[in-house]
Subunit: 111 residues, 2 copies
DNA sequence: CTTGACGCTACATAATTTGTAGCTAAATTA
DNA sequence: TAATTTAGCTACAAATTATGTAGCGTCAAG
């Protein structure tokens, strides 16, 4: 067991650690936006539709502590672990597209 | 394109819809806790370490609208789509365990 | 009837997020 | 060398979101 207990769970199980960080706004998005290489703080901010620097920095700190993101000379980038996790987000992207097609085969909007 | 625009993204791309809902507290957890079959509202509440009924209900509404969760005679359960997505969370669980072992091979705690 | 379990709402308090402004430091340009 | 630009990041009030507790209306069983 590692990382200690987290919000919403007393166990500190790895999946709960992940749910804790990923269940906060912008975490998933940050990992996603770093998929094609490093981005500076400001570029990342722009990529994330102008998320506030406050949260962005808070998330980046957390993601770095968890060893998923690092700050290099060209900006923020995913670590090997972060990249590994990121690949699953790519899968999720493919899944989401198929899901949307299924939910919406003729292009009508859902509320 | 479907589901319309969401928080944090103007495009309404399926992955952004997913990031929007999953990036809110308890969403991932709810999908996770429903992995072994239906749970009543109250059982789900207990499984989620006592998340407030207010958020729980808000999330359940959203997840139902997205066609990921449904309410049946035995309580809340994942739809076929929700189950499909849930399988990826099971992958994530396996990944998270390996990740924790890597980050923490001798059992020391991280902050 | 009363009891208990169900889904769910109300509402005040607390925590999180936003948006904007601006700081310090290092590199670049004039 | 002085001015400008770009970098990461902080401050802080306003707005949004979550928490915790109480309890409502419905229904089925005892």
């Amino acid at each position: 067991m590692s990382f200690g207990p987290v919000r919403g769970s007393t166990t500190g199980r790895p999946i709960m650690v992940l749910f804790d960080i990923l269940g906060q706004r912008w975490s998933l998005r940050i990992l996603w936006e770093l998929r094609q290489g490093p981005l500076t703080f400001r570029a990342l901010r722009d990529a994330c539709d102008g998320a506030s620097p406050t949260v962005l920095n808070t998330r980046l700190k957390a993601l770095r502590q968890l060893g998923l993101v690092d700050l290099g000379p060209d900006g923020y980038l995913r670590t090997a672990d972060g990249d590994d996790l990121g690949k699953r987000l790519a899968d999720l992207d493919r899944w989401a597209n198929a899901w949307a097609d299924r939910s919406d085969p003729e292009g009508q909007q859902q509320s």
